[in-house]
Symmetry: C2
Subunit: 221 residues, 2 copies
DNA sequence: TTTAGGTTCTATAGATCTATAGAATCTCGC
DNA sequence: GCGAGATTCTATAGATCTATAGAACCTAAA
């Protein structure tokens, strides 16, 4: 039965179990992983796993929560802290990507496998996720209001784009531990802020509007 | 036995099978989907599916290939075509995102499930994927050389970022058919080119220009 | 040492699922 | 209508996999 008061052993093993499940789910996917795989990874028998998880689905649920919880908390801190936009977006991206490194595979599992949970079990995750997105949106809104960002910026789009980009890099980061985290953070921030286009030495500034116009009617579509 | 010369029936059903497999894999994941699910969706019995696929893994393989093949071809056309960078990146994003709409779930399956294929069966997909990336990189390199992009741009990073962002939006597009594709394409291009930062009123350099601002605020159709 | 409760093990029921074999049905040229 | 080949069906072997029950083991307090 699920442990008691000051019992260290249970808590240690439970954490161990969550990490093992995260690693296995990340590698094989929720449905591709077996409870035997998870148990094996933590050095116990398959049946013993049910001492820590009510069910396989319950394991997924806990891994997802573990993967996202303090990552949302960190965002809350960033959003509350009233920094200039540039600092805030850098902090956001840093937090997002270092989460992938630190919490290993749990965040990846949250992103890739959470949809296999039934609606009800996902409620908490959903709330955390949209909380995160809203806070990121508010950072963008503040950026617009402060004049740091263009007033044409669609903050909802912007938040989704940042999240999407960070998750894409996060997947790579998890898969390839050699990647230079700091370098990626820098470049992502730069992209979000400035894009890739050269700004000062634009060839002909008279037709600058013309250049954007012909973007739309090109080639087959 | 796998059909013959002018036999229409087989080809039709085979395509039907691939689409059914794509839909089911997209919804439940490779391991979460059963061959019975796929067969059911195309209105035949589970065992009959093996008339069209050698194995379940073979089905995944074909779906992935189906999902990525002509999408790479389109990129080849774009890269060969010597357009200005702005047009090329718009065409790229348009191609990428409309692929998600048109080929339904097969591209999503390629992105999410292809890693479950054994190394050997993935060889072709890998080649196609890196071909795609390299062509996108060369588009960025051309952009730098032509002066359209800053010469500090890391083209490898840029290509990965674009692919990551497009895939992230693609997932949403597949899941929510109501999303305005054209709007997303516009905003992604704008982000890649210009970022979100206000440029006119930036303290440091007072000059240039209103150039590209109006890309984002044209109220499309 | 004894004992209680916490942790892990073994064994297994019951429910999948993949892939195959062989029978049944369908299609179409003759 | 006949027969050959193409397509689909039924039935099943064999290999999973999840979850549970109950025995065994381990630790620490009395």
């Amino acid at each position: 039965m699920p442990a008691q008061s000051d019992n260290r052993r249970y808590d240690q093993q439970k954490l161990h179990a969550i990490r093992a499940a995260a690693a296995v789910f990340a590698e094989k996917g929720y449905h591709g992983a077996s409870t035997r795989d998870i148990a094996e990874r933590m050095g116990i028998q398959q049946g013993s796993l049910y001492y820590y998880f009510k069910s396989k689905q319950d394991a997924l649920s806990e891994v997802c929560l573990f993967g996202i919880e303090d990552y949302v908390l960190r965002m809350q801190v960033i959003a509350a802290d009233d920094q200039p936009f540039e600092a805030a977006i850098l902090a956001t991206i840093t937090s997002h990507l270092t989460s992938y490194r630190e919490r290993d595979e749990a965040l990846k599992v949250h992103n890739d496998e959470r949809l296999y949970l039934p609606e009800e079990k996902r409620a908490t995750l959903k709330k955390l996720g949209s909380q995160y997105r809203k806070q990121l949106e508010s950072i963008f809104e503040n950026g617009v209001q402060s004049g740091a960002l263009r007033d044409t910026v669609d903050c909802h789009f912007a938040a989704q784009a940042v999240i999407g980009m960070c998750n894409a890099w996060g997947e790579r980061i998890v898969r390839d531990p050699e990647l230079d985290l700091f370098d990626i953070i820098q470049k992502c921030s730069d992209l979000i802020l400035n894009g890739f286009r050269e700004r000062r030495a634009h060839p002909r500034d008279a037709q600058s509007t013309a250049t954007t116009n012909n973007l739309s009617n090109k080639k087959e579509n």
